[in-house]
């Protein structure tokens, strides 16, 4: 693989991995606090799956660089993370958490479907494993959105508030990385604009059928994944605290 392509691929893998890791951490904050025991287990399950997917992406990254995945996760500075801002937002209420997960699940469903055809074989193989779990997450959150949207006045109001807040954040998922065009030319990833269209075709009808109004402004909240909110620093302080006490400790 030529160095330009490899560099672009590393950027992409890190973005994929960081999205899953940070979302997983936010979902894990519900453990012990879920609205009902069954959902507590379900959200823990989703969080664990996303962490597993992050491990897959970090694994592909580290195969190419020789880095230690644990060091990437536990010793990296906030400014070096490449997740979209949506993932780092505090977990909010249940409507917010379910909607964020739903918007991400729909993105993963369309993105993974396209990645199955990736010309980079390790990527295509990883997708086969991840995709089944994502289809289930998508089913779970799709069901929740319908029930919250068509439930009570309060549940609909909370979900609409969440949508108004999350909509510009979700658009950042479809901002191509600065060098992503290299990967598109090589057939390694699909065109982000196409993914965006497929995503809109999935989520807009479902959100509308669930009684919600789609916000009119779909300008992405940020154009580069190096830009973060202060929430990420707090999240990482929490997540990295123990590992940073003694970075050389053997576990």
């Amino acid at each position: 693989m030529n160095p330009t392509v490899q560099t672009a691929l590393l950027h992409k893998l890190l973005a994929l991995a960081d999205d899953e890791l940070i979302l997983s951490h936010r979902n894990a904050e519900w453990i012990g606090h879920g609205p009902i025991l069954e959902e507590d287990i379900a959200i823990g399950n989703i969080a664990q799956d996303e962490l597993g997917h992050a491990t897959v992406w970090y694994g592909l990254y580290c195969e190419l660089t020789g880095d230690d995945p644990d060091a990437l996760v536990f010793l990296r500075e906030p400014a070096d993370f490449r997740n979209v801002q949506m993932m780092e937002l505090p977990k909010g209420d249940w409507a917010f958490t379910m909607l964020r997960q739903y918007l991400f699940d729909a993105y993963e469903v369309v993105m993974l479907a396209a990645l199955q055809a990736s010309t980079y074989q390790p990527l295509a193989e990883a997708v086969a494993k991840i995709r089944n779990e994502e289809i289930y997450h998508y089913r779970h959150t799709t069901a929740w959105i319908r029930r919250l949207g068509l439930g009570t006045e309060e549940s609909q109001c909370r979900l609409q508030n969440a949508l108004d807040e999350l909509w510009p954040f979700a658009q950042q998922l479809f901002v191509p990385l600065p060098d992503e065009v290299v990967l598109v030319e090589e057939g390694i990833v699909a065109e982000t604009a196409d993914l965006h269209t497929n995503w809109q075709n999935l989520v807009i009808p479902h959100l509308t059928d669930s009684g919600l109004t789609i916000p009119s402004d779909d300008t992405p909240i940020a154009n580069h994944r190096s830009q973060h909110t202060s929430h990420l620093t707090h999240l990482l302080n929490d997540m990295q605290l123990v590992a940073r006490l003694d970075a050389a400790a053997k576990w």
Binding site: E38, A42, N45, Y136, R139, H140
Partner: protein
């Protein structure tokens, strides 16, 4: 105190196409579709499974062998009478495994749940061994996972290694240091 939980659903899990659906426990859910998803998350994350059924707990009629013995007129118990329809029959025939409660042993056409159990209990094909507990459930009350669901609902669990917490030996170093 009033029950603030969602309604209860009985969950039946099938571990391979040749095995029977076995009762594994209950979940709370606002409706049958969510019950199916909750059942998957609670009961089939690690072990393998190929199918699950969920049934509203209120749709289950149950009677034990002891109750039948103590009340010889049990078959005259009044339950809702409806036009002849299919009932799923479940029976508990073993005391061996704690997880084994009742398992699916067949279907009968009957007007009521009591009549369904009466028919099943008179036919050794349903349960060749002694039965401790009978359940009857209208087939129409059963919500099932589909064959298409196997890949996303059940297959991922097969790749996941289940480890007891003792696998992670982080206690030992502390003990060794005498603290």
């Amino acid at each position: 105190m009033p029950d603030t939980q969602w309604p209860r659903y009985e969950v039946f899990k099938q571990d391979s196409p040749k095995k029977r659906h076995t009762s594994v426990g209950t979940v709370h859910a606002p409706d049958a579709e969510m019950a199916l998803l909750n059942a998957r998350d609670v009961f089939v994350r690690r072990p393998s499974a190929v199918s699950i059924w969920v049934v509203p707990a209120t749709a289950v009629f149950t009677i034990t062998a002891e109750e039948m013995e103590l009340n010889p007129n049990w078959h005259k118990l009044v339950t809702e009478e409806v036009p002849a329809k299919t009932y799923y029959i479940f029976a508990k025939q073993s005391q061996r495994r704690s997880m084994t409660y009742v398992e699916h042993v067949g279907e009968v056409e009957a007007k009521t749940a009591v009549q369904a159990i009466q028919k099943a209990s008179q036919n050794r094909d349903f349960a060749p061994d002694d039965v401790f507990v009978w359940w009857a459930v209208p087939a129409a009350a059963v919500t099932r996972s589909e064959d298409d669901d196997i890949a996303s609902m059940f297959a991922p669990a097969q790749d996941k290694t289940y480890r007891q917490q003792s696998y992670y030996g982080f206690v030992d170093p502390l003990r060794k240091s005498g603290k």
